[in-house]
């Protein structure tokens, strides 16, 4: 069960033992990590599960597919480290991943 660390905008840290195959969004929501809204329940149709990958993780996690990339455009403050958490599937290589949650999903 890879360990994923979520950092909130106001400086809190949540370490989660995620299940293989779960999305980063599901792992957060099921472990009561605040700040990930996931309005559409993981359908890649709302852009309210936006997270920033911590430095150095972009290559391991990989880039977004076209669908996610076009939905990321809907997010307010997008950077090259932006991802939609519902589109990242937990696998062994994500052990130790740190993601930062923006101050708002609105």
């Amino acid at each position: 069960m890879p360990k994923i660390t979520y950092q909130t905008h106001d400086g809190r840290t949540f370490a989660v033992d995620a299940n293989l195959g779960q999305s980063l969004m599901e792992a957060a929501v099921k472990n009561s990590v605040p700040g990930i809204e996931a309005d559409c329940g993981g359908a890649c149709a709302c852009a309210t599960c936006h997270v920033y990958l911590d430095a150095g993780w972009r290559e391991v996690v990989g880039p977004p597919a076209d669908l996610e990339a076009s939905m990321l455009d809907f997010v307010g403050e997008v950077t090259p480290d932006s991802r939609l958490a519902c589109q990242i599937s937990v696998n062994e290589r994500l052990e130790g991943l740190v993601v930062r949650i923006p101050g708002t999903q609105r």
Binding site: C40, A43, A45, D73, R106
Partner: protein
């Protein structure tokens, strides 16, 4: 007025406890006749709880609590937008994507999201600035205006109609049509207006199928819905959606916001002095004066809120009241720029307003420009405002006065 056309009162269903029955008519409630949001506060205080049952308009649960509305909006498995499986007599021509439930809903919604990203909308900015400056030029020297016909109605409606490709010369007629769509009227009455809109849209779509233009109708024709193009009827359904959504929403957000600034000279001065506060003011004014009240249909029995919701029940999310819930927003009538809890003016869940970036952009340009160019303004003491109740509450007339700028 609209009350005369309301669906008749229903017999209260057997499963509704007597103590939860409370008279509230979304189209014309006596409590709201003097002031919408003062009336909503009074309603919250008088009602038996954050969820009660009103026999009006065919019978519906009314939800005035913030956490309850938030939870319901985020639970499409139980609370559907499409009544067809449980209340087929209430179904009308679908508006895409609001009438569609998950899982089909997502692919339809993505089409609109792609057209309404901040980046896609940025190209509209110069046009919005020009239109607004022109509207201000027409009134600034006179020292008075009715803000709704002068600014808040034409600005977002023209921007929207140009974006869509709708015929600008019919804008007054369209505003009348949308008026019938935002009341809690019987489905047959609303269906007549939807038919008019569909009839108007069909030739526009056909023209663009032959000859694409730089407008949203053209882009909808070529949209990708999970690997296929939309059918003609689906493009019509998108047009119906956008018609309702585009023509009576930002108008009201602007009107309520400017009305507040006219009454709150301190905030008006503060925003003039420090325009960097405007984005926070936009959100807090949307919260303070939320105006859209969507409806859901119960798909399966659900007792989570301590009230017996049963399959087939109609539920009104009174977001305009939920954003005044003191449990979520202490001192709810105070305009405070840094509240912690997000508002529900754009709703929540899979159907959360897909046009919110457009709304925010227009509101930002309005407040920045109006405050920069206009002298200190206030409500006209001789002409009161006029407003209406309904599923989308709105302002029809907002007379303002100011001292004309010295030449």
């Amino acid at each position: 007025m609209y009350g005369a056309h309301s669906t008749p009162d229903a017999v209260v269903p057997a499963h509704v406890p007597t103590h939860l029955v409370f008279d509230f008519n979304l189209n014309d409630d006596p409590r709201l006749r003097a002031d919408l949001h003062d009336g909503l506060l009074a309603l919250r205080q008088a009602a038996p709880g954050p969820i009660f049952f009103s026999p009006r308009n065919g019978g519906n649960w009314v939800v005035t609590g913030h956490q309850e509305c938030h939870a319901i909006a985020r639970n499409p498995q139980v609370f559907a937008n499409n009544p067809i499986t449980v209340r087929p007599e209430l179904a009308q021509t679908p508006r895409i994507p609001v009438s569609i439930d998950p899982p089909d809903h997502a692919a339809y919604r993505r089409v609109l999201m792609e057209q309404l990203t901040p980046r896609a909308l940025a190209r509209l900015e110069p046009d919005i600035h020009d239109t607004l400056n022109d509207l201000i030029d027409r009134v600034i020297e006179t020292g008075r205006c009715d803000f709704v016909p002068a600014v808040s109605e034409p600005l977002p409606v023209w921007v929207f109609m140009r974006m869509m490709g709708f015929p600008l010369e019919r804008y007054k007629e369209f505003r009348e049509w949308v008026g019938t769509l935002v009341q809690f009227l019987p489905p047959q009455v609303r269906q007549k207006t939807l038919d008019l809109v569909a009839e108007m849209s069909a030739p526009l779509i056909q023209e663009r199928m032959a000859d694409r233009r730089d407008d949203l109708i053209s882009r909808l024709i070529d949209a990708d819905i999970d690997g296929r193009k939309p059918t003609f009827d689906e493009v019509i359904s998108y047009c119906l959606m956008l018609f309702v959504a585009g023509l009576d929403t930002v108008v009201n957000a602007m009107s309520f916001g400017v009305r507040h600034l006219a009454m709150d000279q301190q905030l008006q001065a503060q925003l003039r002095e420090d325009p960097a506060l405007i984005p926070d003011a936009i959100e807090e004014l949307l919260r303070r004066y939320s105006f859209a009240n969507p409806v859901r249909f119960v798909l399966q029995d659900h007792d989570a809120f301590g009230v017996p919701l049963r399959r087939g029940d109609v539920v009104t999310l009174l977001l305009s009241a939920a954003d005044l819930d003191e449990r979520a927003f202490p001192a709810p009538t105070r305009v405070e720029l840094h509240r912690a809890t997000p508002h529900l003016a754009f709703n929540a869940g899979p159907h959360r307003c897909v046009g919110l970036h457009l709304a925010r952009m227009e509101l930002r340009i309005l407040y920045e420009t109006w405050l920069r160019r206009m002298p200190t303004f206030r409500l006209d003491p001789d002409r009161p405002w006029r407003f209406h109740q309904g599923t989308v509450m709105g302002i029809e007339s907002l007379p303002l006065v100011w001292d004309p700028p010295a030449r």
